[in-house]
């Protein structure tokens, strides 16, 4: 398990990084935290000509609140995000998701942007970010564009980011408790054989209730049930405007069935994933509602 040869570019700026990607002509790959890339290199599942290291680019690290958004720059470590008061206060679903990611050693190195770019269908940060209606900024030599996460994940380990693009930052809409008495509740549930493993199935829920306890906004995202993390819009639509109680949640769960296409593998059958998706969705929704309840 030793990596094949590659050229190494230590980018000191975003411009240098995108220039190196452009020069790589599709055969250059970015290393951020490396927690997924390094095993792929060691197993020679990835054999890029060039590895572009973005860890030294100061502009790619940090968390800020800007104009109703919390922006997490791509190379921000998962551990930094988890410990950030801004994340804990304003992006509680993300904080809950990150607490399930790997172990302290991997979170100390792994990055928020790297997790999104890697796009493992069972990983937690993409799932939470999708539930939170986040967007990513992508930059190439041609310029910068933004992509909603709903359009970002294309398949297992496949995203809308082109080979010559770098993920700059993630924009999380801030949805704080409203002055009108509305409140946000979140929950993240996953099941894995061992603590810290990739989820077999995961559910992220974010629910906003008005002062009277009526649902203003509902988001449910499921992981491990498709090649990409999935939102369940039909379920969300049926919850909006209602008072959510256990019966109401149970009534809408059948909407999940048509939205997911889980597969079989050695760790779980498709049937397992289907049933457990419903179980975790129910738990996550109820917990989020309970947290949001006035």
């Amino acid at each position: 398990m030793k990596a094949a040869k590659f050229d190494y570019v230590l980018a000191e700026s975003i411009e240098q990084a995108v220039a190196a990607l452009a020069a790589g002509n599709g055969d250059a790959i970015i290393i951020a935290g490396g927690q997924s890339l390094m095993p792929m290199l060691a197993m020679r599942l990835a054999t890029p000509a060039t590895v572009v290291d973005i860890n030294n680019i100061a502009q790619l690290s940090g968390i800020e609140a800007i104009g109703g958004e919390v922006v997490i720059k791509a190379c921000t470590r998962q551990a930094t995000a988890l410990a950030s008061p801004l994340v804990q206060m304003r992006l509680p679903l993300l904080a809950k998701a990150i607490s399930h990611v790997g172990h302290q050693q991997t979170r100390n190195r792994g990055t928020v942007g790297g997790s999104l770019s890697h796009a493992d269908p069972a990983s937690e940060i993409p799932l939470a970010a999708l539930a939170m209606d986040a967007r990513v900024s992508l930059r190439s030599v041609a310029g910068t564009r933004e992509v909603a996460l709903a359009d970002f994940f294309l398949g297992p380990m496949m995203t809308a980011r082109a080979d010559n693009e770098i993920l700059l930052k993630v924009h999380f809409p801030e949805e704080p408790d409203g002055p009108d008495g509305s409140r946000m509740g979140t929950a993240f549930h996953e099941v894995s054989e061992r603590h810290g493993d990739f989820a077999v199935v995961a559910a992220a829920a974010q629910i906003q209730l008005d002062a009277n306890g009526r649902c203003i906004k509902a988001a449910l995202a499921l992981g491990g049930v498709n090649g990409v993390p999935r939102r369940i819009p039909a379920l969300e639509a049926r919850l909006r405007g209602t008072r959510i109680d256990p019966d109401a949640v149970r009534a809408v769960l059948p909407e999940i069935a048509d939205a997911i296409t889980p597969g079989d593998d050695q760790h779980a059958s498709a049937a397992y994933r289907r049933r457990v998706a419903g179980v975790l969705a129910e738990r996550a929704l109820l917990e989020a509602v309970a947290e949001a309840a006035p």
């Binding site: 040869k5 099941v191 061992r194 603590h195 493993d197 990739f198 199935v201 050695q266 779980a268 179980v279």
Partner: protein, 807 residues
């Protein structure tokens, strides 16, 4: 973390006042490990060492049509590329346990691959990186063939043969009958049948296997350093390479990073030895994780039991009929013998009257099996405990009560079981009660019932299991009557130097069991010196005395016995010197901390320093005829060993039988099937505990390993024979989060057969935990009327049982 309570395993045994044995003392090996100065094989560096990497087959069964190594050989930094055909031309097949002449096992596949991951070629290069670069340049043309994966199919198969020359996939098929099984079944009130399946898992040490070899053309000695734990390793190496045995020197001062049975890298070592000699350069092969899991030939038992149990309406089990079908993978090694060792304790700790045992080992297109912790006893214990639980369920009796009615009573020892073993000693009822007390069993029942009342699935496991210890090769004879091997020894040498300092020399490597501490403790106890001042070294294989290596829960028994014997010889020698110089009969002398004095006149004495001086320097003061110097050797034969089976295949196999009672508490999430082990109590009796920290560590560590086998760990294959568990992301070993707070208690029923009353302890936790966890899970499922008799009990299987009516 409750510290051990009750008897701290102290023999008080043998009526002796112990100074070092059974005392809380530091483990001497730990110092080098905590400081990062242990010497594992990867840490051994020789000048100009070259690095090897192996090419795995992508197919479980394929003809190798051609191997083109030209591009790989042309790569800068590559020294050699060796193929299976080239290797086979220069070596003998690796000797198997059973005599199966047409099952030819070579270090690299020759003409045909027999499992996905089997090694097809090996590259030697300046660095491991370059060696792997070269692997990518080897062109192999394969003709894929349909594999045989399912062991039942393999058993019945006549066309798809793993080794066509052998004529079938059956490596071994034997029938044993001990006692009047038919009569007992006919007389019993009732009977039941079940199938239980033990999944393919192993010990999977965190260190993979590695070996480093150097051929010295001047001395014509092959030096080898390897993370090895195998009896007869050097003999196997010599026979495969065709070398004289005394041309090979295995360095046994290498620390082994965990083994628990599996570190037996014979093909790996043959390869580096051959390449080192060929290239006249030191060559090392360190398996990487993927290579180790897929191609290291280190999988464990994979077993299907079909069992019939005859019993009375009171739950007294009278007889067992057991059929065990084991999947040995492509190359059996010593794997089939893992069906024979359990004959040593085939009725577990119970008074079962008769047993019929059909044992079958088959080859499939899977990675080869090696001996794993307990040598087949863990699956057997699992099956026996499932039988006891099944009887209790069937009769609607309490599982504890059924055990109490069947456990061998404490006044029945030594107790002969139908297959011929005498159990040396035991107090099973007391140990079980200690376990129940430790678990606070009544409160645990309330906790379970409360959880159930709240709608959760909760269960308590009970398993009472034996750990045969000491080893005895005679199980080979049971399977192969041409193998008249009745010797199973361990030896050591003890030297007292001119300064009076003591050095003990053992003949094997060690892999975490604390043998140096064990050895020093017993020497210290016997010679009355502080064990911390006794040096322990590992002889290389040319200077070592005979050994069977640390297998079979045997080192406390066997190295302990050898150390006691050698210490006795040292004392005898000192006594003889003193008797001669003090002019007193030895009977009048007494030994105390090295000084020998006249009982009647303590002022007449010889100090240890004086004795050493005489031994080394004062020939004129040596008793006539005594050789100068001060050392002793002792070769200890396993107690009770040395006999062939009688006409009915009854024989004493292992000498000592440790006992454990496991009581875990689990809850199952009915929505996801996930099992959480929330509590665990174990009561353990291995006779005298030499070092409490070591025994406790191995008991709890074995138990954690058993939780892995019960719930998580599986070498999985798909229907096409592709291996799915090569990485640690797919082969799931328990982390600290999966292991509960373990409460443990020791009880001490000394063995009458050993130097200090000790028995084996390295396997016991693992031998009982899978059964205990399975018992707990089935107890949790009981209110739903469900049972699961398949390991590992992965969450998706349990969930499907609960929510889909299928496993």
């Amino acid at each position: 973390m409750t510290a051990a309570t009750g008897d701290a395993g102290n023999a008080g045994a043998m009526g002796r006042n112990l100074h070092y044995v059974a005392q809380k003392r530091r483990v001497r090996e730990d110092r080098r490990f905590v400081t990062g100065t242990g010497k594992f094989v990867q840490d051994v560096t020789l000048p100009d060492t070259r690095h090897a990497a192996v090419l795995p087959s992508p197919y479980p069964r394929a003809r190798i049509l051609s191997v083109d190594t030209a591009a790989a050989e042309a790569l800068d930094g590559v020294h050699m590329v060796l193929t299976g055909q080239q290797m086979a031309a220069d070596c003998n097949p690796i000797r198997l346990g059973l005599k199966l002449p047409e099952v030819k096992w070579y270090p690299l596949a020759v003409d045909m691959t027999r499992y996905a991951g089997e090694w097809v070629a090996i590259v030697v290069a300046d660095t491991a990186y370059i060696a792997e670069d070269a692997l990518a340049l080897i062109q192999v043309e394969y003709e894929p063939l349909a594999p045989v994966i399912d062991p039942e199919q393999a058993f019945a198969e006549t066309d798809l043969l793993v080794h066509p020359g052998h004529g079938s996939n059956v490596l071994y098929h034997g029938h044993f009958l001990w006692g009047d099984v038919d009569g007992d079944f006919a007389a019993a009130d009732d009977s039941l049948s079940f199938r239980a399946r033990w999944g393919r898992s192993s010990t999977v040490p965190i260190e993979t296997f590695g070996a480093l070899a150097r051929w010295d053309a001047g001395t014509e000695i092959l030096d080898i350093w390897a993370s090895i734990q195998m009896p007869n390793f050097v003999e196997l190496l010599a026979s495969t390479l065709g070398y004289p045995l005394n041309n090979i020197r295995l360095h046994q001062d290498v620390d082994v990073g965990g083994s628990y049975g599996v570190k037996r890298g014979i093909k790996q070592s043959v390869l580096v030895a051959y390449l080192a000699r060929k290239l006249r350069m030191p060559v090392r092969l360190i398996e990487d994780r993927l290579v180790n899991m897929a191609g290291g030939d280190a999988h464990g038992p994979d077993r299907i039991f079909d069992t019939d149990v005859a019993f009375t309406n009171d739950g007294i089990i009278k007889s067992l009929k057991i059929r065990a079908l084991d999947d040995a993978g492509a190359y059996p090694g010593r794997a089939p013998f893992q069906l024979a060792k359990p004959i040593s304790a085939i009725v577990g700790p119970y008074t079962i009257n008769s047993v019929k045992y059909e044992a079958i080992s088959v080859a499939t297109n899977k990675t080869g099996q090696v001996p794993v912790r307990g040598f087949g006893q863990a699956p057997t214990n699992y099956m026996i405990e499932m039988a006891v639980d099944a009887v209790a369920r069937h009769l609607d009796l309490d599982r504890l009560e059924v055990r109490r009615r069947n456990l061998i009573p404490s006044d029945a020892f030594p107790y002969r079981i139908p297959s011929g073993s005498d159990y040396d000693s035991g107090d099973y009822h007391t140990v079980l009660q200690k376990g129940l007390d430790l678990a606070r069993y009544d409160e645990l029942l309330q906790r379970r019932d409360k959880a159930r009342a709240e709608g959760r699935l909760a269960g308590i496991g009970i398993a009472t299991c034996l750990e045969p210890g000491g080893g005895n090769n005679i199980f080979e004879y049971l399977m192969d009557p041409t193998a008249e091997i009745t010797t199973f020894m361990e030896a050591c040498e003890v030297k007292v130097d001119p300064q009076g300092r003591i050095t003990g020399m053992m003949g094997t490597t060690t892999s975490g069991q604390g043998h140096e501490t064990l050895f020093a403790t017993i020497l210290g106890e016997e010679l009355e010196f502080d064990p911390d001042e006794i040096r322990i070294v590992h002889a290389d294989s040319l200077s070592a005395l005979p050994t069977r290596s640390p297998v079979a829960s045997r080192m406390a028994i066997m190295l302990g016995g050898a150390a006691t014997g050698a210490a006795g010889k040292i004392k005898d020698r000192a006594m003889a010197i003193a008797a001669f110089n003090l002019d007193r009969p030895a009977a009048d002398l007494e030994y105390s901390g090295g000084t020998i004095s006249d009982r009647n006149d303590p002022s007449r004495k010889l100090t240890w320093a004086e004795i050493c001086f005489i031994a080394y320097r004062a020939y004129h003061k040596l008793p006539p005829g005594m050789e100068p110097g001060f050392h002793a050797q002792f070769v200890f034969q396993v107690p009770g060993g040395g006999q062939l089976p009688d006409a009915r295949n009854r024989v004493q196999i292992y000498p000592c039988f440790s006992f454990q009672a496991h009581i875990p508490y689990v809850e199952i999430d009915p929505g996801t099937g996930k099992v959480s082990v929330l509590d665990y109590a174990i009561a353990h009796d291995c006779g005298t505990v030499i070092n409490p920290d070591i025994v406790r560590g191995m008991v709890i560590g074995g138990l954690a390993h058993g939780i892995g086998a019960a719930l998580y760990e599986k070498f999985a294959y798909d229907g096409e024979g592709q291996f799915l568990s090569a990485s640690f992301a797919d082969y799931l070993m328990p982390s600290v989060h999966e292991i509960p707070d373990v409460k443990d208690v020791e009880h001490c029923t000394p063995s009458p057969l050993t130097s200090h009353g000790q028995k084996g302890s390295g396997e016991g936790g693992y031998l009982g935990a899978p059964a205990a966890i399975a018992s707990a899970v089935n107890d949790a499922l009981h209110p739903l009327g469900l049972t699961i008799l398949e390991l590992p009990m992965r969450m998706h299987k349990i969930e499907a049982l609960i929510n889909d009516g299928s496993g």
